[in-house]
Amino acid sequence: MNLNIKREELLISQLANLLKNDNHVAVGAASPIPGAAALLAKEEAKNFNKRLRVTILHSNKYNNFTDGARELFDCAAQGRIDTFFLGGIQIDGNANINLVGTGEYPNVDKRFPGSFGSPLMYFVVPQIILFREEHSPRTLVKNVDFISAPGVSDDNIYRPGGPKYLLTNRALFKFNKKQKKFSLFKLNMNETLDSIIELTGFDFDVDKDLSEMDLPDKTRIETLRKCIAPMVSEFYPEFANRIWGV
């Protein structure tokens, strides 16, 4: 069976696998792949007579909030959001993320937008999935130049949440909180342990069950293309058009 699965579809499928136990997934701005994954997981949950709530901040329709822009953060702090996605211009081996810039702060060499809500969300949402498509030594670094939000905290710090996974174009890592270290878990097609070692700036463990990323089956691909694509086109029209021509 050749479904001509696209790279983006494969990534969406990986993320959807991680949302199966959730009641409420929230997706920040400019995140079409996480957004599509959340909607796919919501659709699939119906088959198990389960309700998954999806909040997509970029969309009016999937924005469940009515208390203004602060409600996402309050809601997360209350423990009402199970999964949230964060990115990073740099991510390091301790799961520290940098959304601010490279070089020495404050007058960095290259300035990026800023930390957004990450310094809170990373602490309070139980499952943070780090998602950064580019997998290279410049994105996955030994130490970030600026810690927008730390991967781990001391025991006396209130932290019910934190990093659980890191997904890139090439691989899926689990994060081990005790060892403060990522563990390679899934490889994209055409990737090997060696290629990942070469392209990753930090040390990582290798999961004993390391395997290839599961391909989405025909049912999932059909759900994605027929049912989810039109939804996505509503709030990420450019993305939906590029991937699915809708």
């Binding site: 701005a29 400019a30 009016n60 924005n63 909030f65 009515t66 208390d67 203004g68 822009a69 602060r70 996402l72 953060f73 309050d74 702090a77 959304l99 601010v100 810039g101 702060y105 404050p106 007058n107 960095v108 060499d109 290259k110 300035r111 990026f112 937008p113 800023g114 930390s115 957004f116 809500g117 990450s118 310094p119 809170l120 969300m121 990373y122 602490f123 309070v124 600026f146 810690i147 927008s148 939000a149 730390p150 905290s153 001391d154 025991d155 006396n156 710090i157 209130y158 932290r159 450019e238």
Partner: protein, 273 residues
Amino acid sequence: MKSFEEFTVKEIVDQIEDGILLGIPADYSGVPMTFTKELINKGVKNLKLYCLPLTTIQGDMLIGSGCVSEIETAAVTLGEFGLAPRFSQAVENGKILIKDSTCPALHAQLQATEKSVPFMPLRGVVGSDVQKNRKDWQIISNPMKSSGVENEPILLLPAVQLDVLVFHASYADRNGNIQIGRRRELATLAHASKKVFVTVEEIIDTDFFENELSAATCLPALYIDGISVVKNGAWPCKLPGVYESDNDEIKKYSIAAKTQPSFNEYMKQFLKS
């Protein structure tokens, strides 16, 4: 009888003095672009921008035009059109002071002023470089005996009061109440501002308070110091529920703003438009 002050945009701009702390709404809250244009035309200097929690071209244009000395924000970005070039360069070159913050902290600092308390506590954030670079933030050991673990560090954020807030909205009613719908962060901003001016698409001859449900969508007139009718006053930004952003124009801006000379060229046209 209109029971509020109706101003021209120029009269609002006249209220903006050099060096004030100006409230900046996010792109989804109603960006007052016509006002911003007139503000740049006036040549205001040393503005301190307080973004709730981020800004797009409004902040980038003000920075590129040399109006800004300081910005407190969770992000400056052109969204799908990439980085905010004038912001990025100004920070890289040390031309403006950047107070990097995070969305919940920007909300909480205004909520402190909303309640007239000197500070608000926040969890999270501790141990980040965002926190470590903010000398105006303090960390104390949780003083509340009944809660938390031993020696739990708690971040205290100072109350921030804005000098002036200006935003753009769709409608005002004849009594000067502003329809804000779900954009309740505008209420927080207004509560924490000494002066609030609003540009609106239209003043409609109704009283939003005549009906409990439409009352619920309003920022009450008591917080508003002046209103100006400006059609398309958010252009090229969107006004949620009324018009989308003019992506062609923002893309054009994003390209022009990459260097200061081409930004200057762009602005010459823009300020005349």
